[in-house]
């Protein structure tokens, strides 16, 4: 399989690549249009701050390319938020692929939402073999509300989108690459889509 990780100097690229290696899959890191377009599947990682990530994408013209992709695509953490319309973080216009907002947690609980929390209401083959209530690792201060594109949810304290699907674009707010065997299974499920 020709698997490409979008390379725009995101923080967790290495961890995602290692997680795929543990599944026996070698992924190519690239920002090159042709390489990404010809991939069977594309993974879009991300940690850090929204406006600087968007600036990195724009500087490589990836903001033009990514919305045109047709193959199975998987945005992880900030990679999920970047697919949305707009983020409260730095009042940033995102890629606008999924028509949803990204909001800051307004809660008395600690922010960032950091640690292991449960996945509920699991839908789509992305979660094949994953039990309701399985734990995943999160670290984020912004979230995507529930919507018709939500395919898994987590509560902190209100339910929010743990994962999304919009056409060929899948996305997870948690870190499958850091979520133990369950996370590996979710990555494996994406590779099997």
């Amino acid at each position: 399989m020709n698997l490409v990780i979008v390379d725009y100097k995101a923080g967790n690229v290495q961890s995602v690549q290692f997680a795929l290696e543990r599944l026996g899959v070698q992924a190519t890191l690239s920002a090159d249009f042709e390489t990404i377009q010809s991939a069977d599947k594309v993974i879009f990682p991300g940690v850090g701050e929204a406006s600087s990530a968007m600036a990195q994408l724009r500087s490589r013209n990836l903001d033009k390319l990514l919305p045109t992709l047709k193959q199975p695509f998987f945005g992880v953490c900030l990679g999920m938020q970047l697919l949305c319309q707009h983020s409260d973080e730095g009042d940033t216009d995102m890629l606008g692929i999924i028509p949803l907002p990204v909001k800051r947690f307004q809660t008395d609980l600690k922010v960032p939402h950091m640690g292991w929390n449960q996945l509920e209401q699991l839908q789509t083959p992305l979660f094949a073999g994953i039990a309701e209530g399985e734990y995943a690792y999160y670290v984020h201060s912004f979230y995507v509300p529930l919507s018709e594109y939500t395919i898994a949810q987590t509560s902190y304290p209100e339910p929010f989108s743990a994962a999304l699907q919009f056409k060929n674009f899948y996305a997870a707010q948690f870190h499958p690459e850091k979520s133990g065997p369950a996370g590996s299974q979710i990555l494996k499920n994406f590779l099997a889509l």
């Binding site: 923080g11 967790n12 290495q14 961890s15 290692f18 997680a19 290696e21 543990r22 940690v47 850090g48 701050e49 609980l109 600690k110 922010v111 960032p112 939402h113 950091m114 640690g115 292991w116 929390n117 449960q118 734990y135 690792y137 999160y138 670290v139 984020h140 201060s141 509560s155 902190y156 870190h175 690459e177 850091k178 979520s179 133990g180 065997p181 996370g183 590996s184």
Partner: protein, 252 residues
Amino acid sequence: MLTKRIIPCLDIKDGRTVKGIRFENIRDAGDPVELAKWYAGQGADELVFLDITATNEERKTFAELVRDIARHIDIPFTVGGGISSVADVEVLLQAGADKVSINSAAIRHPQLVEDLAKRFGSQCVTVAIDTKHTDATGWKVYTRAGTVETEHATVDWSKRVVDLGAGEILLTSMNNDGTKAGFALDITGEVARAVTVPVVASGGAGNKQHFADVFLQAQADAALAASLFHFRELEIPDLKHFLKNQGVDVRI
């Protein structure tokens, strides 16, 4: 429900774990990668690796080790020890660390916390605070491996680093560290209530009840221990079942 985190801490010197660890079922318990994999399998929620070596040459070795750890374990980990610049952090994050912990450098140069948060995001910036209580001073922040008292009161300093962009506080009570008499519930609770970010309690764990106390009484978000786990005086699965029965949300 977000669960409370249990975090074993591994001290690293010359690429090896230190503190005479006894594990019969690990091929090489001095190998940080082997030990990390074992802890991940036991249900540790995160790991902390502290580089206790000093020279720049040794620090390069540490970055290689971080890469090796990231390659092999599938839970998050924090690295710390001697980090003093944005460049140091970039190397460690690129090697695959999820978070870095800074301590003395934040005291010397508080701007570093802000620079790191802006560059990499608050979520990967843990500020480690070593604190000690005396009747004369109250809880004060100490630096240089706990050898030098600073002018900072602990709660004030915690709030300040969070304002600068810290995404987590790792609070070690020097009064409690090594005593096995329990965590410092008073200062941990004060800090946990004073800041908006998660607080990791460290220093003093001696039994299961101490973990329940720090979670239920002091509202810590995570608890860290080293020798207690390394010497297998406490096994993580036992600890987590005990905590669950005490009403603490844990990942089992």
